[in-house]
């Protein structure tokens, strides 16, 4: 083990190997955050659709979940990166942009749409876990269905599903490592590049693993605080 390797300059000389790892970490975090925001928005909409009375809307959201849950993430990523640009009308313009941006966008859409299916199921479970009386009471008071969702069901459901959403957030962060397979230079890919350049495999992998552990722990600590604030009095412990 020789950890001094991280402070030696890379062949191009403009940074150290540690600088490479930190650049990878930045990409990993940017990727996870941006795809998480999309996944949360899309997943919430789909989750609501899963519970509405309209049968067609429920079926559409259900089909979405089926497709995105039953195809491996790696296959989805390769389809976004290798297949969609070939067959989509905007494909030619996509292939003209900066390669890093191509990889980043494909990874972002892939992670976002994959995770949206899982967020959708959590939102649905949250809404369905509310007593039926809540919805009926809202409607009986003269609220329209959208108003009932907006003012009665969603505020409650949102607070109930914070803990499962925390683990989805951790998942999207860990799943972002899959994007190293299409050449996106995120944390895992930087670690592998370090192995190629320095032949210090143990040190590089150890550093990368520790960085993952640190970010993971940071997300957990922040989310514990959020979970504490979001907890609904009287519901304590009733849902895990």
């Amino acid at each position: 083990m020789d950890f001094r390797i991280f402070f030696s300059p890379v062949p191009t000389g403009d940074t150290t190997y540690l600088g490479w790892l930190l650049a990878g970490l930045r990409t990993t975090i940017a990727l996870s955050l941006s795809s998480w925001i999309i996944a949360l928005a899309l997943g919430t909409v789909l989750g609501i659709l899963r519970t509405v009375p309209n049968r067609a809307l429920r079926a559409i959201a259900g089909a979405y979940v089926e497709v995105f849950r039953n195809v491996p993430l790696l296959a989805q990523l390769f389809i976004w990166y290798f297949v969609v640009p070939e067959i989509a009308p905007f494909g030619r313009r996509f292939k003209e942009i900066d390669p890093f941006l191509q990889q980043f966008l494909a990874s972002m859409f892939c992670l976002a749409l994959f995770t949206a299916a899982r967020v959708c199921e959590q939102v649905r479970a949250g809404i369905e876990s509310l007593p039926r009386g809540q919805k009926n009471a809202g409607l009986a008071l003269g609220l329209t269905l959208p108003q009932t969702y907006r003012y009665v069901l969603l505020p409650m459901a949102a607070r109930l599903i914070v803990p499962p959403l925390t683990s989805e957030m951790l998942n999207i962060f860990k799943n972002s490592a899959v994007c190293s397979t299409i050449g996106l230079l995120e944390l895992t890919a930087q670690g592998r590049q370090l192995v190629d350049y320095t032949a210090h495999a143990y040190e590089s992998f150890l550093a990368v693993t520790i960085l993952y552990l640190v970010v993971n722990a940071a997300i957990l600590i922040v989310m514990r605080v959020v979970e504490g604030r979001a907890r609904v009095p009287g519901y304590l412990g009733s849902r895990n």
Partner: protein
């Protein structure tokens, strides 16, 4: 518009089937070893011995905090060296399959252990008290009374995890091992038909996993009844 040409798939089917057999073999080994080791971890986690409980808790949270890709890379680095030293194998022996199996078994065990822990905790306390009152040792009570019930309650969750595991085996791509997905990629790359082969692979996974999930749903209703 893109010109689809599916003609390279029929000829590649035997090769793809070879890949599917590797995917299934990794899945089967990882399920069996993962459930066994995961159950052992769950029992340790719930044992009164603090050192065992701490070890199990640390193991589970370590493996659950690191991406599977990273775990696979570690094992492709370490396991071949270790096995060669212990078994005195030559450098030509291909140990990627063995490495993948070990990695998946150890990684999935962390997830299976959480499921089994919930399963053990779902068994009423009276069952254990009754077993102890009958003169069983705590380990006998665990093995003959609690675990069979815990296992039965958790069958749907264990199977759902198995489906996820099957999908995750595609990640052995990072070692260039030709599992089903890797085989499809190789054929597509060779024939310049990546679009068709990737869509085909995605469709195969979709059909297999949807059928399996539907089966689990039926089973869940039966266990609940």
């Amino acid at each position: 518009m893109y010109d689809f040409d599916w003609s390279s798939i029929p000829g590649a089917l035997p090769f793809l089937w070879q890949g599917m057999k590797i995917s299934l073999a990794i899945t089967a080994i990882a399920i069996a070893a993962g459930i066994a080791w995961g159950t052992a971890l769950a029992v340790m986690r719930l044992s009164p011995a603090q050192s065992l409980s701490l070890f199990a808790a640390g193991y589970v949270s370590l493996f659950r905090s690191v991406p599977l890709v990273m775990v696979l890379l570690w094992f492709f680095l370490i396991v071949p060296q270790l096995l060669r030293d212990v078994l005195h194998l030559s450098h030509a022996t291909d140990l990627r399959l063995a490495s993948a199996m070990v990695a998946f078994a150890l990684f999935e065990a962390a997830y299976y252990s959480e499921i089994m822990r919930a399963g053990i905790q779902s068994v009423p306390k009276g069952q254990r008290s009754a077993a102890l009152a009958l003169g069983m040792t705590p380990l006998q009570a665990m093995w003959f009374v609690i675990l069979p019930q815990a296992f039965r309650n958790m069958v749907p969750l264990l199977l759902t995890q198995a489906i996820i595991l099957f999908q995750d085996t595609s990640l052995v791509y990072v070692s260039a091992l030709a599992d089903f997905f890797g085989a499809a990629y190789k054929v597509g790359d060779r024939d310049g038909r990546l679009v068709e082969l990737l869509l085909f692979a995605g469709a195969v996974y979709f059909v297999l996993c949807s059928v399996a999930s539907a089966f689990v749903r039926v089973l869940r209703r039966r266990v609940a009844a």
